[in-house]
């Protein structure tokens, strides 16, 4: 090949190469179903490295951001923790208020139902008897609030007991659960009378004693105060008969009564400071035969 022809070959090769590249560009510009082996192989080969580097960069960026923000986040975390603690405390307080509101609402409902019969004072329970032998409560109100010995203490559920001692700021309540807190009771539906007292062998239960063997006393019957004894007004709810047992002498039987009041969970109680019209007339209709229905939240004998 002469020097003249060699001079022509170089631009020709360049032109061909340019055309080929142009054609390749045009061909690869279109959307393709498959990449070429080279393209695919390269991409596959680089992918792990790309993935690793991207991960490192991302993580490093996040770590750097975290380090940069650490003190701010720490302060924010602290503030959020404090806020959570404050909200929890507020929530607990609100729950206390809610429950107190419910209890007071029940007591209010009870006082409204019975406002023609009694005058009440709401008193908080501040202590219980430290001994296992007696069942008494200490109230946070005393003679300064008009509380006196022998006033009857109730809740919207039923009878709690009676005041046995007062100081200017406290009053001691003998629960009906106590052996010495015996009172006159009767089975509401059939007016069977008896003495109700704390049961010595069924802890936390009452018992009605001196019931004639043939008296129609059965389980699930409601027991109310009979008004006998001169302290407890007639017709206040005491509890429900859960068991009837024969006495050893064979002539009498006794009924075990589940008290209507949960004595372990008393927080506020109502003290009956005045009975309008005397013990017998305190609860209108309580003495009427067949007055055997109970009214939730109200005096069982007071009627709707």
């Amino acid at each position: 090949m002469g020097p003249h022809r060699r001079k022509l070959m170089t631009p020709l090769i360049l032109l061909l190469a340019a055309l080929s590249i142009y054609a390749l560009m045009r061909w690869t510009a279109r959307e393709r179903g498959h990449l070429s082996i080279l393209e695919g192989g390269l991409r596959e080969a680089l992918a792990p490295a790309e993935r690793g580097i991207t991960l490192v960069v991302d993580k490093t960026g996040a770590w750097l951001a975290a380090i940069r923000d650490y003190s701010r986040l720490q302060a924010e975390n602290q503030a959020l923790k404090q806020e959570i603690a404050a909200l929890k405390a507020a929530n607990i307080q609100l729950e206390e208020y809610r429950q107190e509101n419910n209890r007071l609402r029940n007591l209010l409902k009870f006082t409204e139902v019975n406002r023609n019969a009694f005058e009440f004072t709401v008193a908080p329970v501040i202590g219980r008897n430290p001994s296992n032998w007696y069942h008494t409560l200490t109230l946070g109100l005393g003679s300064r609030a008009g509380l006196q010995k022998d006033q009857v203490v109730v809740t919207s559920q039923g009878v709690v007991g009676r005041i046995i001692a007062v100081t200017p700021r406290t009053a001691e309540v003998l629960l009906i659960l106590d052996r010495e807190g015996a009172l006159g009771g009767m089975v509401q539906v059939n007016r069977t009378p008896g003495i109700v007292e704390g049961s010595p062998d069924y802890g936390g239960y009452l018992q009605m004693i001196h019931i004639a063997r043939d008296a129609p006393v059965m389980e699930n019957q409601v027991v109310v105060t009979s008004g006998l004894g001169g302290i407890f007004p007639k017709g206040l709810l005491l509890g429900t008969v859960v068991k009837v047992l024969p006495e050893a002498d064979g002539l009498m039987k006794r009924a075990i009564i589940q008290p209507a009041v949960d004595f372990d969970r008393l927080e506020e109680v109502l003290v009956i400071t005045r009975i309008k019209g005397g013990i017998e007339d305190a609860v209108p209709g309580a003495g009427a035969p067949g007055a055997g229905r109970t009214y939730p939240g109200g005096n069982p004998a007071a009627g709707p």
Binding site: R128, P130, N132, D201, G204, D264
Partner: protein, 167 residues
């Protein structure tokens, strides 16, 4: 000073029995903290001081209850004295000692309480009193005394070590 501390401890026990312990009832009874403290004290200090503390604690309780004044003073004094007799023949390192003594003392005290109570007009049925009140209280007190004495021994050992290091 120790006397005043013990009286304050007794008062704190009474307040706890009237407020917190009703929520921690087991088998229908609450722990008798005064008996537990009395038993541990009498076990450590002997009969005369046990009787004296028993009398004071009983009197405090009687005054608080405002009922049968002297009944608890008498029963606690007797139990403090009898428990205190064990000082001479029981090893004070024995952690079980106060637990067993508290169990027995509560039973004896309960029995005496019922006996003297009957004489004083507190007519609690014997069998129900012993089974439903005295026995569960004795078990509760026994466990508490065991725990309390373990804490006491641990505290005493710690204080002795501190004194040794200090000197």
């Amino acid at each position: 000073m120790q006397f005043l501390g013990l009286v304050l401890l007794g008062l704190a026990g009474l307040i706890l029995e009237a407020t917190l312990l009703p929520a921690l009832k087991m088998a229908g009874v609450k722990a008798d903290l005064l008996t537990v403290i009395l038993v541990i004290f009498a076990f450590l200090k002997g009969a005369p001081r046990g009787a004296a503390l028993g009398f004071i604690y009983g009197l405090l309780e009687d005054l608080y209850l405002a009922k049968f004044l002297g009944l608890n003073a008498l029963t606690r004094m007797v139990s403090g004295y009898l428990v205190g007799l064990s000082k001479d023949w029981l090893n004070q390192d024995n952690l079980l000692g106060p637990g067993i003594l508290a169990f027995l003392a509560t039973i004896g005290q309960g029995f005496l309480f019922l006996l003297v109570g009957h004489l004083a007009g507190f007519k609690y049925p014997w069998l129900a009193g012993l089974l439903a009140v005295v026995l569960p209280t004795a078990l509760y007190n026994g466990c508490l005394a065991l725990l309390g004495y373990s804490f006491y021994q641990g505290g005493a050992a710690w204080a002795a070590r501190k004194r040794k290091i200090g000197s």
